[in-house]
Symmetry: C2
Subunit: 159 residues, 2 copies
């Protein structure tokens, strides 16, 4: 029973899309996922806008993490941004989330990243406690702003 | 008196570093900037971890924006993330910030980005009001977590 973390391949796309949908459901946004197998394949293995790793035990997938590089003008270096971290309900509490975070921290160091960052929902107390135990600090002063859809077209002056 | 927005060149690095430092001072973190001309040059024109545009009027620089692409598993598409938006004190209130945001929204559409996002400090009321007027929604439920420095080495199990 060894936990393995390996880079995702195109053969994992259907599995990852299932994980993305399960995570969106947990995050109370079940209809938010517009991604398709085609768009994920293109992003991860065509454009390479993001990367992903799969956690598995005896070839049974237990979870995954999807990440990309951001950049900070303060550190002057790129950082590693964790977009999705997901562990299947059956595997929770068995150390899979910890192993994924540790693995990504190692990638961040190997690639000379100044920071390893992600976002958490303010009501997700178990995750918040878990991240604090992992040494993460909370950037409480910062709030995300987003423009999308019609508002983006309008802002660009193209409506 | 025409406002022009153009891509930054390696000749703009010293100017951008000055802007980054002035912005950090405004954000009450004057000592936070570890970036150097070398690291910015490498990031923007070597690795291409980020891109930047300069706003100028009659060849006088009035501000700049630095951005990179993130990725969303919900949209299945890359997004445009605005890391820094800065307008010089003399130029504030003259539409430079609006012009920069509109320009970036156009880049986001041209590159088929699903979202245009950035972070704002929760006490920066003028910026918050400005962004709301620009059609930005506030992602109030989300909080950023960060691991860096010794905590990152420890999380990776390399301390």
């Amino acid at each position: 029973m060894t936990l393995t973390i390996r880079p995702a391949t195109p053969q994992d796309v259907a599995l990852m899309l299932r994980f993305v949908r399960e995570l969106a459901e947990f995050e109370r946004e079940p209809d938010a996922v517009k991604a398709t197998e085609e768009s994920l394949t293109q992003a991860l293995f065509g454009e390479r806008s993001a990367e992903a790793v799969i956690a598995e035990q005896d070839r049974e997938p237990m979870g995954f993490a999807l990440f990309f590089h951001n950049f900070s003008t303060w550190t002057g270096r790129k950082g590693l941004y964790l977009e999705d971290l997901y562990v299947t309900p059956e595997a929770r509490g068995s150390g899979v989330g910890t192993a994924l975070l540790r693995h990504l921290a190692g990638i961040a160091l190997d690639r000379d990243c100044g920071r390893f960052e992600w976002a958490v929902l303010d009501w997700n107390t178990p995750a918040i406690d878990f991240y604090s135990a992992m040494g993460a600090e909370s950037m409480d002063e910062w709030r995300i702003r987003r423009v999308s859809g019609d508002a983006l077209v309008k802002l660009a002056g193209r409506s």
